[in-house]
């Protein structure tokens, strides 16, 4: 190819006066005749509605003697309800082309529904059966129990899962966050139908539910839908667990596992969502390791040294605990170097803080990126319900960027000095890393699925 062209590029690095998109949605609070509230964004351009439900509690509601009950119960919600056994229920759903999914984490149980306008009433009726009248047929229990056991066995051979299990267990001990979300193979084997009925009674309550709805539905229609869907659930459930401190001290823990590439999770105490320094810390995290190619860790560990494919950190505010967590994967003979670089960056940002340029770039990104999230009914419904779980007001969507803008260099650097603590940084490494000292004995702890995991996408394509 002949390249005769010379383009003149005029990028203004500072992007002075950049005008970003703004969030342009109207959130309406709808209260049903029966007293259930939901947040709604009406948009009639596509004939379907996205509905997101979050029930507070999640797997934290598991009793210590029936670990995994809430997870197994959640898996059974779509396995038969009312007078329909599993296949009848699913055939009915497929006939309506409705999409339901049920998931559970340590803080919430989530239900996502996509329903066509042409048959929404029937779809709601079906979903109501799943939420209010799941059958828990013995044959379905055994089927899903087998699936859970298979997942647990796979997790026991997955370095990433092993690392996160060890990390959360050590960080939170006996608190529900320290326990395996999916249970253990012994606990799951011992679960009875009564355990599942109790888990259902506890985890799906009218008082604990938050609702986000977006799409082709009016406030009146949504009000009626809420009563139909949720009106027959119990009013409230058991008390939720309380706050727990992040219990890991600085250090490196190595878990022996035969794999060519070691996986590490690392973390230290974080900040509560309500902390007045939260936004400063959030911006700080973006500069340190927040996802993009520009973060310090990505630059130092990947771009300059080629030690990993990806590294990121996250400031996690769960309902009952706050911590910084990061993940990295490196070949066994390079993990020690990666950890050294991470520690150095952790110390450097605490010692020196960030520059005005870094702060400006982070703010421009964070404020510009936020409105881009609101691009689809499903996306918006998820944001609406997430805000309610976190306890944010509706005005947050328009005010959030001003909170980011208000963060000053002095604040970020004070928070870096006060909160980022290289001495407290704890690494859990799974693999056969060289030069990190003696590995602990091979662990026989059972596999488990845990709280927020830094997910690495597994797709057919190869994102850069």
């Amino acid at each position: 190819m002949i390249r005769i062209l010379s383009l003149t590029l005029a990028f203004c690095a500072g992007i002075a006066g950049a005008t970003h998109a703004e969030v342009a949605i109207e959130i309406e609070e709808v209260t049903s005749p029966g007293g259930i509230t939901a947040w709604l964004v009406e948009d009639h351009s596509i004939p379907f509605t996205a509905l997101e439900l979050r029930f507070e509690g999640g797997t934290s509601l598991d009793a210590p003697e029936s670990l995994g009950a809430v997870n197994l119960m959640t898996g059974l919600l779509e396995e038969g309800a009312g007078d329909m056994e599993a296949r009848e229920f699913q055939a009915a759903r497929e006939d309506l082309a409705a999409r339901f999914s049920f998931d559970v984490g340590s803080d919430t149980l989530s239900v996502s529904a996509r329903m066509l306008s042409e048959n929404r009433d029937a779809a709601v009726e079906l979903l109501r059966e799943a939420l209010v009248a799941p059958r828990f047929d013995p044959v379905a229990i055994e089927r899903v129990r087998g699936q859970v056991q298979s997942i647990l066995a796979q997790d026991a051979q997955n370095p990433r899962r092993l690392a996160s299990r060890a990390f959360y267990e050590a960080a939170f001990g006996d608190h529900p966050y320290g326990r395996p979300d999916n249970g253990t193979s012994e606990s799951v084997a011992a679960l009875t139908r009564e355990d599942l009925l109790a888990a259902h009674e506890a985890a799906l309550t009218r008082g604990g539910v938050h609702v986000g709805a977006v799409g082709d539905i009016t406030p009146e229609e949504l009000g009626a839908l809420l009563d139909e869907l949720l009106g027959d659930l119990p009013e409230s459930g058991p008390e939720l667990p309380g706050h727990v401190d992040f219990g890991l001290a600085g250090g490196v823990e190595v878990i022996d596992y035969p794999t060519p590439q070691s996986v590490a999770l690392f973390g230290q105490p974080g900040l509560e969502r309500e902390d007045e320094d939260f936004f400063a810390a959030y911006v700080l995290n973006h500069i340190l390791g927040g996802g993009g190619f520009e973060s310090r860790l990505m630059t130092e560990v990947r771009e300059k040294r080629g030690l990993t494919y990806g590294i990121s950190t996250d400031l996690v505010p769960l309902q009952n605990a706050e911590f910084w967590i990061g993940s990295v994967a490196s070949a066994n003979d390079r993990m020690a170097t990666a950890i050294e670089v991470i520690r150095d960056e952790w110390a450097r940002i605490a010692r020196e803080g960030v520059t005005q340029d870094e702060l400006d770039a982070a703010k421009t990104y964070l404020t510009g990126e936020y409105p881009l999230r609101f691009d689809g009914n499903g996306q918006i419904a998820g944001i609406l319900v997430g805000m309610q779980v976190t306890g944010l007001p509706q005005s947050y969507v328009t005010e959030r960027n001003s909170f980011i803008e208000a963060v000053t260099l002095e604040e970020v650097n004070r928070v870096a000095a006060e909160r980022v603590d290289p001495q407290a940084l704890h690494f859990v490494v799974v693999g056969r890393p060289e030069g990190l000292g003696e590995a602990d004995a091979p662990r026989v702890t059972l596999p488990e699925v845990v709280v927020p995991e830094v997910v690495v996408p597994e797709v057919a394509l190869e994102p850069q």
């Binding site: 062209l5 383009l7 990028f11 055939a91 996509r114 771009e303 990993t308 994967a329 881009l372």
Partner: protein
Amino acid sequence: MLRRLALAVPLVLATPALAMTEAVTTYTLDNGLDVVVIEDHRAPVVTQMLWYRVGSADEPQGASGAAHFLEHLMFKATETMEAGEFSATVAANGGSDNAFTSTDYTAYYQRVAADRLPLMMEMEADRMNNLRLTDSDIETERQVIVEERNQRVESNPGALAREQMIAAQYLNHPYGAPVIGWMHEIEGLGRDEVREVYETYYSPNDAILVVAGDVEPEEVLALAEEHYGPIPAEPDLPERVRPQEPPQRAPRRLSYADARVSQPYLSRGYLAPERDAGDQETAAALTYLAEILGGSSFTSVLGEALVFERDIALHAGAGYDGTSLDDTTFSLSVVPKPGVTLEAAEAALDEVLAGFLDTGPSEEQMRRVRTKLKAAEIYARDSVEGLARRYGAALSQGLTVEDVAAWPEILQSVTAEEVRDAARAVFDPDRSVTLHVVPSREETVASREEASE
């Protein structure tokens, strides 16, 4: 049904149909660049995607991974930009960017506020021609890709098994090599291999620009003319002809053993026809076939028979993706329950398939898939990026905008006889690969003996 289980099994679900009710406008610039504009004015956001009609299957033999390596290096320096400045500029504008490579295409995208489109085009057009490769960037990035392969493949027994299976599926076609490349060839890739892909294929007449979101088609066209229009077409663009498969004359059987496998499973692939321009009917029938056999864990033929009625499997599925430049695959998979051998599961699978080939699908099964695919068109409109990907993928894999437009209708008109005939044609043992994935071969033998007692 817990869905994480399904992830352990290699299968690609059929691509849902695409609605044509969204506003789609297309052009071709004088230099051959195809332009597709998809309007969605619900949010002030735009996605620019630039797709090149080059993927791993276009690489020179022995240089597997070169297209993907180039994709990584496209984020390094150009004549006017520093390494990393592209993504930094996108981020400084509040956007995000990335890229991906497959067997048939390499695509780059940015997602930004709609008024940032001109800058994105300026930068994307710049790196089509002006990449400046340095030895140190190449060296460091090769290490990154080694770690990427470690993470995606070497650490994942399922991915390693799948790689072996695909290699066995294709006797001659370069689809047999992994997109990311074999490790020993990644380690040997350098400036020459990457440069060859770049010089040969990164030209406007080998690219498709897809712009989706809050934009007006006339404005996009004017911007495309301004930024991409001046780039000359490549006069020596090679015709895209890859080595094709000879007649396949023997079933292949593989057993992949890896101590990290906790859940044995079996997978089978058959060489299958893909969607071709103006000729998508067989692919439409195969899309139904995959849905009917394995599209639902509860109501599909394999799930009903193996998970529910015979109660021998935790999961059974089928997959087919017809969007491919050359012959694709139709895949089946079964995860047996503990205590059921892979041999027993495979025998049961074959019995169920034989029964289905006899009778073909029922009208109820056909109706259910028809309903699902029709609704998928409505749901698909909620993600303009998803629509952008479908156009980009189709146009870089030999289809036209008209083919994409016709596809939903073609899907709606598939008959039960067509599905049965397509099944009879595709399930040819001589064109199949059957893979057993086990923790160790000794254990497999032991459990087989136990089962026969």
